[in-house]
Amino acid sequence: MWSEKEQRELEKMLPQYNTKRSAVLSALYLAQQEKNWLDDDDIKAVADALDLTVTDVHSVIGFYTLFRKEPTGKYIIQFCTDLPCALRGATKFYHELAEQLGLPPEGGTTDDNMFTLEEVVCIAACNNAPCCQINLDYHENLTHEEMSNILSKLRAKSEKESTTQP
């Protein structure tokens, strides 16, 4: 959500850029921070703040896979199943993880809106497969046990956040 807080933060950043347009990635990142995806109002706000057209902003969003225009879970698990990872059992791991989360093989978002699982092509960590990226953090050399740990830690973290922020 684009609020006065985001607007203030953006204005603080603007002097670092040669042109307003150059700040579009940072501005989108700010706008996406809270709910993990960008709605039309967010996009309009970013466009207005940087004197761009909405179309221009959409174009940037479409180019980068980390910006999203659809609602997602709080944590997005991008799981690589490309060839090198697959050789280290990533495909099997992925399917088991999907099942564990109660999701179909093509991935999706859990009912509690906590996790979104996505099958992706290469996150540049083949040497430590199976691997995945959860939001901005990498998790490598995964075992099912570790994965369960990570997921429950994230669940706990989320719960803690929601209790401290009434």
Binding site: L52, T53, V54, T55, D56, H58, S59, G62, F63
Partner: protein, 886 residues
């Protein structure tokens, strides 16, 4: 001139300026390298890879830094291991290029095969079929058969509307980005973009309304594959059987909407206009058209056209014969004697206008004629005659050493084609000073933005002139050789130094000074001025002085252009459809006649009025009573306009595409248009024909049988037009010039490419002298906190454009646009209505809010439905002080 570089292409030596890309060098010697993404009018991106060629450069010995020579003493050429894109590889000395090497041909074949993996091959139903670069290149370089299974082709959505006018077929698109680059670079409307990557990449527009641009139609011309097509022409989309492009007859014509006189081609099929395409004229519209011109042609085929003369009997129109109508007109005009007046619209051709004034001056013995119907936006000037832009002026080529001073005009709305050209000039480095009372679209690229208070444009010009004289920046040779009265002007201008005008204009003195320096120091300077600068003799005199003392007159790329409202406003002024001047800017010998403004006052004292191609009541509703009180009114038009409804006799005229004629554009370029279709009935006559017939009934012995016959007489009678015979005007450009004009637009039609002829201004005669005139500006600043500004807009309520259903959503509805702070002060929000009251009238209007508008301005375009703005204006300027009440 940059240094020349010599290289060899396919064994032929060619010299081109350093920095030229291989593709342009090859084009120069007639070697056509295939392209999709490259376009000579757009920036280069090099994404389609179809232009790959084999390139080599002379080898150098690393140790001695000398070229390696073979036994015969020739440099050894080392070819790059991979093919190079010809569109984005600059030439270098000694380079050798092989355009059709075995490798390049294989590459082309492969690229085409890849492009066709997702291209639907629906050529039989594609509008582009027959003029499609992808089709042509596949024919020339394709494999002939596909190795892909047709059933497994990648498919994506078809027929996606990108706005009201353009349709996108995603699976035909090859992501060359020509359309996006056109919108960003040429039009300045950033409303198209590529979304996503790889296979998912597609052209999108999220702007509301979608693809919102006055120039969007051009993307369909430059699209190399038929992904973008116009809804107007699209196969079977308008409840009409489709027509294929090779069935069209292409006739050269001129836009009746464009004051630059855009050249176009009317594609006709069985007597009907089916599409309008640009006709290249690098001096006028390059290869572009505005959507208004492209889609506004539907009035020709409207079912509301007048088809026979009508005579009013007991308040009702009855169909009559030409015989009866002409007899009645002759009798009544004869009875009226000197109490007769004539108004001719500036959409008429030069031939019509010339005969119209001849009818009044020679047959009816009256000077009561005018073409300035829209009382306020007509700029009455004779600056064009003296110091109009020099012959050959080409804003499309202006670059670094030039400056344009744009004063009081929103070119995007008022002269859209000129907007594109000025914007292009700025991109090439021309210095643009944009002075207006409000934000206009060219502010996004202008080097200097001056925001004056409405009514003080003249002070700004005086302040700039004073600076130039004070700092000795005037063109001394020119001043010495050809000007008189410089000392007197200097004395007068002491009262208008930048400091002294800073207050009244609201512009900082230093900024005025800098603008003056920029304009004076430029090698070439053009002043463009429009109605928002004001409309008085003091302003015109000040513009004249500024152009003269800087020597920016009488030569190519220098001079002054008034932004006149209509396609032939210039011609109407040239040919004397004005009460005080004869054709060719000669003052009338006898008494000055009544102006349109005087004729349209209620107590004008006229018994008869002859109104041709002018919907006076439609434009200015307050003129109704003046026409009602006239005993006998003849209206000659295409439609039963609001004005025609009040007439006693209505005469049906031919529309532009049904006849020939000529228009004179803003830059004094005379251009002809050809007849393309027949009128709805043979009882529609060309305007010059009707005027000739009326003159005949009144005893004149005119023998005109064709428009070019009338033009022949003009060339003999009006010295300015002495070179304007149809023979000269229809001369196609030379082959050599055509080669220069060669572009990659995907247009396969053939219609004559002509350039038109400009008439010479007085300044172009090197022996002419000028006296500097100073006219003290009247202080007619609107005395009010809020000023109503009523500029002309592209999509106004005009009769012709309202016949085009496809543009219906774009026609502006009357509204009062305010700045957010004014809206807040009056606690107004979207959808509210305000009452605007000026010293002249009062109207209620819904509001709109625009954050870019200054707080002292309320914007209501003129010539919209109900002519609301006109009811508030007093007929002098297009701005006036108003009060706003919620």
């Amino acid at each position: 001139m940059s240094d020349l570089v010599t290289l060899k292409i396919d064994g032929i030596e060619v010299s081109v300026p350093a920095g030229t890309m291989i593709i342009e060098a090859a084009n120069k010697i007639g070697r056509e390298i295939p392209v999709f993404c490259y376009h000579s009018k757009l920036s280069t991106v090099g994404v389609c890879r179809v232009c790959l060629v084999k390139v080599g450069t002379p080898g150098f010995d690393r140790a001695t830094r000398q070229p390696i020579l073979d036994v015969a003493g020739n440099p050894v050429i080392r070819f790059f291991p991979k093919p190079m894109p010809a569109c984005s590889t600059p030439v270098s000395a000694g380079m050798e290029v092989i355009t059709e090497s075995k490798e390049s041909l294989a590459d082309r074949q492969a690229i085409l095969e890849f492009l066709l993996t997702s291209h639907p091959l629906d050529c039989p139903v594609c509008d582009k079929g027959g003029e499609c670069p992808l089709q042509d290149l596949t024919y020339a370089h394709g494999r002939g058969e596909s190795r892909f299974e047709y059933q497994r082709k990648h498919t994506s959505p078809k027929k996606i509307p990108l706005g009201d006018l353009i349709v996108l077929d995603t699976e035909r698109c090859i992501i060359c980005t020509r359309c996006i680059r056109f919108q960003d670079e040429i039009a300045g409307d950033h409303v198209l973009a590529i979304e996503n990557r790889g296979r998912d990449a597609k052209v999108v527009s999220y702007t509301e309304p979608k693809f919102d641009s006055k120039y969007s139609g051009n993307t369909t011309d430059i699209c190399p594959v038929g992904a973008l097509t116009s809804r107007d022409f699209r196969f079977k989309d308008m409840n009409k059987p489709g027509v294929r492009i090779w069935e069209l007859t292409n006739v050269p014509s001129i836009s009746n909407y464009c004051n630059m006189g855009s050249n176009l081609v009317l594609g006709t099929h069985v007597g009907e206009i089916r599409r309008v395409m640009p006709r290249q004229n690098e001096l006028v519209n390059e290869i572009w058209l505005t959507n208004k011109t492209r889609f506004g042609h539907h009035f020709h085929s409207s079912s509301h056209r007048l088809t026979a003369p009508l005579i009013k009997e007991n308040g009702k129109f009855k169909q009559a014969t030409w015989e009866d109508a002409l007899s009645l007109i002759a009798t009544k005009f004869h009875e009226a004697g000197e109490h007769i007046g004539g108004i001719a619209g500036p959409h008429l051709s030069n031939e019509d206008l010339y005969l119209f004034q001849k009818l009044f001056r020679e047959v009816l013995n009256s000077n009561n004629i005018d073409h300035r119907i829209c009382l306020n936006s007509a700029i009455d000037d004779d600056l064009a005659y003296e110091i109009g832009v020099g012959i050959g002026t080409d804003i499309g080529q202006l670059a670094e050493n030039s400056a344009i001073f744009l004063l009081g005009s929103d070119l995007d709305e008022e002269a859209s084609m000129l907007y594109l050209r000025v914007r292009g000039a700025v991109r090439r480095g021309c210095h643009l000073i944009n002075a207006n009372g409000r934000y206009t679209k060219l502010d996004t690229v202008a080097n200097t933005k001056l925001r004056y208070n409405y009514g003080s444009a003249v002070h700004l010009v005086l302040g700039m002139t004073a600076t130039i004289l004070d700092e000795g920046l005037e063109d001394k040779n020119f001043v010495y050789a050809r000007l008189e009265g410089i000392d007197k002007l200097k004395t007068k201008l002491q009262a208008y130094t930048p400091e002294k005008v800073a207050d009244i204009t609201g512009i900082d003195a230093d900024i005025i000074r800098q603008a003056a320096r920029d304009f004076a120091k430029a090698e070439n300077g053009i002043i463009l001025y429009g109605a928002e600068a004001g409309n008085d003799t003091a302003l015109h005199a000040s513009i004249r002085n500024l152009a003269l003392i800087t020597g920016h007159v009488g030569k190519k790329d220098n001079g002054v252009t008034a932004i006149l409202p209509h396609c032939n406003s210039r011609g109407a002024a040239d040919l004397g459809v004005i009460p005080h001047r004869l054709p060719g800017y000669h003052p009338v010998a006898d008494e000055i006649g009544m102006s349109a403004k005087e004729m349209l006052q209620p107590n004008h004292g006229l018994q008869a009025m002859y109104i041709v191609a002018a919907d006076i009541v439609g434009e200015v509703v307050t003129c109704k009573s003046a026409i009602e009180t006239t005993d006998f009114v003849v209206v000659q038009d295409l439609f039963m306009t609001e004005t025609a409804k009040l007439a006693d006799v209505v005469l049906p005229a031919k529309a532009i595409a049904e006849r020939d004629g000529s228009y004179t554009n803003l830059e004094r370029r005379v251009q002809v248009y050809d007849p393309a279709i027949l009128s709805p009935t043979p009882t529609c006559w060309a305007d010059w024909h009707i005027i000739t017939a009326i003159a005949g009934r009144l005893g004149a012995e005119w023998t005109h049988a064709s428009a070019d016959g009338v033009m022949q007489e003009i060339t003999e009678q009006v010295s300015l037009y002495k070179h304007m015979s149809f023979e000269n005007l229809t001369k196609p450009i030379s082959l050599e010039r055509k080669r220069q004009h060669y572009i990659y637009s995907g247009m396969s039609f053939t219609a004559d490419v002509r350039e038109g002829v400009q008439w010479a201004t007085r300044a172009e005669n090197q022996a002419s002298f000028f006296e500097l005139k100073f006219i003290e500006p009247e202080n007619d600043m609107p005395q009010s906190d809020i000023i109503l500004v009523a500029p002309r807009v592209a999509y106004d309520g005009g009769m012709l454009i309202s016949q085009a259903e496809i543009l219906a959503n774009l026609i502006q509805q009357p509204k009062a646009t305010l700045s957010p702070s004014v809206a807040q002060r009056l606690s107004l929000s979207k959808g509210d209505t305000v009452q605007l009251t000026s010293s002249v009238g009062s109207v209620a209007l819904p509001i709109a809010i625009d954050g870019k508008l200054p707080d002292n301005v309320v914007l209501t375009p003129r010539n919209l439905a109900g002519s609301v703005a006109e009811q508030l204006l007093d007929g002098h300027n297009i701005f006036i002080g108003v009060k706003i009440v919620h």
